[in-house]
């Protein structure tokens, strides 16, 4: 008798749980986010330099060919003679320009329009002669990220304090440390993000001025040779070992926020499953463990 009653109770609970499940499976699914990186063109071709302004994208291939697109990357043709890439080692944000001098020191000029003389930034590190990777997000005034010839990534905080921000680790015991190939940020205040391209770890992003970094290369080849942030199209272009890719500015992935009434049913269903699973486990234990203890 008692056994029948408990069986009926268990059946009732299971039925309730199944009904709750049926109710809640129809609730609104989360919308899928856009791909973080998407291919643009030149798949299978190494792209070692890229510069983008609006619909005009100029790239250099691993074979040394300079190509230009005037339609946002839909088609590329050989660039006209004399086509040049913007100079490296310098960035201008509004009226302030930042650069790396020939000795590897970070310099800045307060009024680029007036062509004021660049002065060394106090406390800036010696990046080594030939260092030319520097970026400054317009959304974080005063923040600068620069890369030394040894591959150390430095950041200048908004308070002017320079600190080592990132030290890449070896890819494995035999592969060595990947090179930092590029650094980019939007020169209009669109985003706090600083993008770091590497030949081995794809792209890393910092959204707090270089203090914390995340890996942000899903879909992208591990070998990223060049980056270019184009404020007009709100897009970052990556020249990789597998062609030209783009990342259209978007929020970092985050859990979706649900507001619909289906939440209540979800929680009821979750609660029912929890209860049923616990009771079933207890019943199973009391049935399978002998009354008289062994051992």
């Amino acid at each position: 008798m008692g056994s029948d009653r408990s069986r009926r109770a268990a059946m009732l609970i299971v039925t309730a749980a199944v009904l709750a499940t049926v109710f809640v499976t129809g609730s609104t699914p989360a919308a899928a986010a856009a791909a973080w990186w998407s291919p643009v063109a030149l798949r299978g071709v190494a792209v070692t330099r890229v510069a983008a302004i609006g619909d005009t994208i100029t790239v250099r291939t691993g074979a040394g060919q300079t190509l230009r697109s005037a339609d946002g990357g839909r088609s590329f043709a050989t660039a006209p003679a004399g086509a040049a890439f913007p100079p490296t080692g310098a960035v201008t944000i509004g009226t302030v320009s930042w650069g790396i001098d020939s000795a590897g020191r970070v310099v800045h000029a307060r009024d680029a329009a007036q062509q004021s003389a660049p002065v060394p930034d106090p406390g800036s590190p010696n990046l080594g002669a030939g260092a030319d990777l520097i970026a400054a997000p317009a959304a974080l005034p005063g923040v600068v990220v620069a890369v030394s010839t040894s591959g150390t990534v430095w950041r200048r905080g908004q308070d002017g304090d320079w600190k080592q921000a990132l030290l890449l680790l070896p890819a494995s015991l035999v592969q060595g440390v990947p090179h930092v190939t590029s650094v980019a940020a939007f020169t209009t205040p669109l985003s706090d993000a600083i993008y770091l391209g590497t030949d081995g770890y794809a792209v890393l992003i910092s959204t707090d001025g270089g203090d914390d970094w995340i890996r942000a290369g899903p879909g992208l080849s591990d070998s990223v040779y060049a980056l270019s942030a184009d404020s007009r199209r709100k897009t970052v272009y990556a020249g990789t070992s597998d062609g030209l890719w783009e990342h259209v500015l978007q929020e970092l992935p985050a859990p979706p926020a649900y507001t619909d009434a289906a939440l209540v049913w979800k929680w009821l269903g979750i609660g029912a499953v929890t209860l049923v699973a616990s009771i079933a486990a207890l019943l199973g234990m009391t049935r399978l463990v002998p009354r008289r203890l062994g051992g």
């Binding site: 770890y201 970094w213 995340i214 486990a281 234990m285 062994g294």
Partner: protein, 295 residues
């Protein structure tokens, strides 16, 4: 015929000393697994689903009746161990929010909140371990192996830590995400998160290699007891971020659990495993660069 033979085998098994512990472990794990995994079909693990909370509720619902049902006495330390794993992990995860709700800005930085949550996890674990020891007969009482820490054990912990870090560096960086060190974040976070990670490692060792292994080896051969706790240790990593990146690591964490269990038995001390586990957790905290989706 086959069914009759299976029933006869089951009857035979039920007279063995290891049966109560083995049956309890398997059934409780099935119950917790059902409570964790079934709601995936109708909920979003990274959105609204309070999966840690329901796992904790299920583990407590399964463990508490063992105080009332005498035949479950040998299973009690096992059930308490599972409850300690789930409930104190929930305490750790929810701790920062609870502290903020209670104390507002006086709760300190997020790092400080994590540290105090880790203290709460360790204290909660010790309380549950104490309860498990005090409420069962000496025959079922688990040995926590906390009292003994010889020089050999400490040396084993240090050597094991060096080996583990060497292995981490030998593996391809992309597999683990250990692509870089972030000096600014390290200097900012280590004072709180370093000790917090050590406390979390201590808690987990008490739960798995103290309470659970100690309980299982009361009735099982050392090898089976070790395999049992390692299996639960592996499966527990499903729950950390289920549906996410942890599932492929279950076999790895199973092997790590086996090694820790072997070390604890070999040295008759929990401390070597605590040292290696703490070093591993700290290395994971500061040597891994998170991905876009948190992994």
């Amino acid at each position: 015929m086959a069914a009759e033979a299976a029933r006869a085998r089951l009857r035979r098994y039920r007279t063995r000393p290891w049966w109560p512990a083995a049956a309890t472990l398997v059934i409780a794990e099935l119950g917790l697994g059902a409570a964790l995994l079934i709601p995936i079909t109708f909920s979003d693990p990274n959105g609204v689903d309070p999966y840690l909370a329901r796992l904790s509720v299920a583990s407590v619902l399964i463990a508490l009746p063992s105080l009332l049902v005498r035949r479950l006495e040998p299973a009690r330390p096992i059930l308490f161990a599972l409850a300690a794993v789930a409930a104190t992990y929930t305490l750790l995860s929810a701790g920062p929010q609870i502290l903020f709700d209670l104390l507002g800005s006086r709760s300190g930085s997020f790092d400080a909140q994590v540290f105090w949550s880790s203290v709460a996890q360790a204290l909660g674990t010790l309380l549950i371990a104490l309860a498990a020891r005090r409420t069962v007969a000496p025959a079922w009482r688990p040995s926590l192996r906390l009292a003994h820490a010889g020089a050999g054990g400490i040396a084993a912990g240090v050597i094991g830590s060096v080996v583990l870090i060497g292995l981490g560096l030998a593996l391809p960086a992309g597999v683990l995400g250990r692509v870089a060190l972030q000096p600014v974040a390290l200097g900012r976070d280590f004072p709180f998160l370093g000790p917090a990670n050590a406390l979390q490692a201590f808690s987990q060792e008490v739960q798995f290699r103290g309470l659970l292994l100690g309980a299982l080896e009361r009735t099982m051969s050392p090898r089976w007891a070790n395999a049992g706790q390692a299996a639960v240790f592996g499966l527990a990593h499903l729950a950390i971020s289920y549906g996410g990146p942890e599932a492929p690591f279950v076999p790895i964490t199973f092997l790590v659990g086996l090694a820790f269990g072997w070390l604890v038995r070999r040295t008759n001390s929990l401390w070597p495993a605590v040292i290696i586990h703490a070093v591993a957790d700290i290395a994971l905290q500061f040597g891994i660069v998170q991905g876009l989706y948190g992994f």
